[in-house]
Symmetry: C2
Amino acid sequence: MPKKFLDVLLGEPLANEQGSSEKYNVPFGLAIMASDAISSVAYGAQEILFVLIVLGASAYKWLTLTSFMIIGLLVILTISYVQIIRAYPQGGGSYKVAKENIGDKAGLSAGSGLIISYILTVAVSASAGADAIVSAFNGLTQYRVIFVVSIIIVLMILNLRGIRDSSKIFAIPTYIFIFSMLFMILYGLFKYFILNIHPQPIYAVPEATEDLSIFLILKAFSSGCSALTGVEAVSNSVPNFKEPGQRNAKTVMILLAILILCIFGGTSVLAIFYTAVPITNGPTVISQIASAIFGSGVMYYVIQFSTAVILLMACNTAYTGFPMLMYIMGKDGFAPRQFTIRGKRLSFSFGIGALSLIACLLVIIFKADTHRLIPLYAVGVFISFTLGQFGMVNHWRRVKEKGWRKRAVINGFGAFVTLFTTVIILVEKFSDGAFIVAILIPMIIYLQLKIKSHYSKVAEGLSVSNIKLEKVNFKIKYTHIVIVPIASLTKATIGALQYAQSMSDNVIALNISTDKEAMEKLKKRWSKLDTDILLVARYSPYRTVVNPLLRSIELIANSAGENEKVTVIVPQFVTHEKFGNVLHNHTGFLIRETLLRNNNIIVCTFPYHLPNDYQK
Amino acid sequence: MPKKFLDVLLGEPLANEQGSSEKYNVPFGLAIMASDAISSVAYGAQEILFVLIVLGASAYKWLTLTSFMIIGLLVILTISYVQIIRAYPQGGGSYKVAKENIGDKAGLSAGSGLIISYILTVAVSASAGADAIVSAFNGLTQYRVIFVVSIIIVLMILNLRGIRDSSKIFAIPTYIFIFSMLFMILYGLFKYFILNIHPQPIYAVPEATEDLSIFLILKAFSSGCSALTGVEAVSNSVPNFKEPGQRNAKTVMILLAILILCIFGGTSVLAIFYTAVPITNGPTVISQIASAIFGSGVMYYVIQFSTAVILLMACNTAYTGFPMLMYIMGKDGFAPRQFTIRGKRLSFSFGIGALSLIACLLVIIFKADTHRLIPLYAVGVFISFTLGQFGMVNHWRRVKEKGWRKRAVINGFGAFVTLFTTVIILVEKFSDGAFIVAILIPMIIYLQLKIKSHYSKVAEGLSVSNIKLEKVNFKIKYTHIVIVPIASLTKATIGALQYAQSMSDNVIALNISTDKEAMEKLKKRWSKLDTDILLVARYSPYRTVVNPLLRSIELIANSAGENEKVTVIVPQFVTHEKFGNVLHNHTGFLIRETLLRNNNIIVCTFPYHLPNDYQK
């Protein structure tokens, strides 16, 4: 029954062979990959202006410069990532590039940075999206955290349904947002230059309060850099694309860069011409531009609403990128193996679940406060950018294919720029929360190395060489010592004893009683049995049964010879009533787990199904 | 390590033989039993006055009458409970009396009433005690719920340590409270009558706002009845007393009644002479009396502090009564069997834990608000009082011992009075929360009957008559079909296969692969083995391994003959690293639980301890 329900909720199971049709074509891939990158772009100009506005009216002049710096960075990153997609068609992004070309720890650093930023993408975007919705309806504020958590759960369910289904759902609002933004930019420029309409700015530009300094420009730049988070998702997900995967991924990467360029550049330009002023707790820069261009017409609301929706959709990038990254790390042994198992619906259920859980915890701990979450955000991304680029430099130096010098210089330049950016962000945002990331990354790396060493030890401990395989002795005949712990003589215990005596001539029935009367009764009933099985009955003055039982079994086990195997058969009656099991002591479970954990004893469970229930 | 820690926290284990020395003598028994009853007595006069004060100054006249009514009820209850202790030396109180003399359902009604009131005793007393402490330190209010929960946890730990230890701890504050209250009453009367000092009342008595009516008196009476909760604890715990248990219990019961009489009567009389006025959110009646008698001297603070402490101690009555009641019910099969097991330290660990858990939940749900919890409180107690007394009437009519008519009349009168009181409380407090109890009691009874019917069915299904015992065939030789599910050839799976072939000639190695390559590799490696064991390898196009595995096993099991037993041996490697198990799939566990639940298959686990870990 619950299984059926899950099938309805999450969709029908899919066979392995259906896998390839579950992959992205270019339009769906773009929709999936774009939302995170593009939603942060929408706020790029505003974040730069918030820093520069202390310069007064000349802020707009320097906005142009800062925007150019960021667009320059975008171009470098795009070229670099196209090179990564070409060199790594099997996906992996910065993690894989840094790991293969620099070393495990560099790869894990890049990977940890990405893990943190994926989780924060979900927490921040869901919180910001909820903010937009909640602020529209007064009185909902107190339910914000529950609301954000619900959003994450819905996204989790949608993603558990599988890849294609969710891309269908998510493609629509992403494209609505993209096209309405592009339309606004074109119409805004048309209105300004062709129609020559120059509306009065809504807010007055404040007077200058500070002088221009290189530090101010750097601060503005580091704030604007958050616009570039999300561009790495494509290179991580190359295997998710339809064939030819590599080419499709490159196309999506370039389209994405062009979209970022247009929307970020366009909104910056419009902010200058329409003199949008950053206002704390006031209308956003985008909102000011939209109302200057469209008044309070339908298009204004389309822009506002699709901005809200795209924030929710941005979470979804993480739902694609995170499970894929964990899959790759899991295959390498740096993440728990559970991340490498595809669910019945071909999605990485464990990764999706883990992402949702951690993001929900973050939301609850930070009370869905985006301002406290955002500073953690960009650091991780830029660390992975930097390591990925340095890795590419090594890659080109290693493969030495045609034109490698040029490519190495491009990536080297990119590495230098992103390293510089990382340092700026770390310094500017350190006390705002970037320090948390600086602590977390080494901790995650330590954990990953521990996991790897554990898996290596287990594999080594279990492995049998092909040569040894041929020498395994399958003619060995063990003699069996069989112990059956019993509390009284019931149908279940008698069944287990019959089974035991058919396995070995050396069977011991073991009884531990806390009640002398019950023990005498058992002995009396035992004497009626027509059997050679030895009954060992012990009285336990302390009221525990399990410990003396385990000690007795261990005593017998320790006296076993080399070719003797000790088997414990635990009789267990099975009731098919609902909740029936809650009403019984789970002594059997305890015995089994303790014996397996500490001894070389085989533990069997002999089930006895209660007859009157079993007919059901 | 954690076991050692528990021993330090909870005390050393105690043997069964130490049991009798863990029982109460009279002074400790009184301390344990008194706190609940006496702490509610302390507020009896105040609660009556809160109702009567609408009469103005004549409230004090009618306080005398109402107090007499309640003292009359106390005398009836005491005589009745002494009779119950005499008739039921093995303990059980109202539950047992009603069950044996009226019927199962009457017994369960009385028991459910007691269960509810025990849980509420903990929740209410801990909350009220915390209130007293918290109100002394400003700024702690926001931590109230956590504080109350901590108190309950501390009480739980103390009670898990065992009976005598906790009575030692709890005896001191109970006696401080009792003696300081008695001293206050005596000194107050001495000061008033002998020294002739009549201090001015602190608060003016308000003008009358209502006329006297029978309903007002009844309401005052029903409020005052909460003073009598807790008197039943003694009769439930007769077996907890030192020998002669019955006589000691009777002595404690009578001493307790005398204490209630003195403290309740005394505070009522002092309230009249010193004209204490009930003030909402102001000083309590006891506090007013104490300050009128002692000024702001040391004795005033002793009274106030010991009042706060006794409230916390009152919880402890429930920690004695509830596990004992659940033990008796568990022995009868009406409560989960876990309640009948004494822990290593001779206390009923499960009952103590369950009580703490439910009380904590109630505290959290009701935000530790005593005013919302109190109305639920008295109903349950008085229902059990009433049923206990009616049961005693039937008891005397049945046994017809010397003087039975007189005793039956006493209990009959008591039954009538408590029934009347129950109706008054239910009506007066219905909408305040008594309706919750009216809903809960039938639900609890239903659950108890369900539990009983489950245990009866299981016992019936498992039982083997002595005659059948002699006929059990222990010469039967089953042939074994042994299935070993394997993923690859490792030391663990090879060990399991060797064990399997020593058990039977009919061994099947079963492999389900989601990866065709891995399956081919396994087949190739298998061909190197020098064995006759059949390898059945199946490819699963869906990525689940467990379901196809279970289906294959069931298919084999269904084809088994009458004297053939199917055994599944699950190889399981055991890692001794911390958290090591978290990193592996628990397929073995899933297979075992599903097979046992649905099939007549014996499931064995073959442990392989990883060698490099095992040396530790």
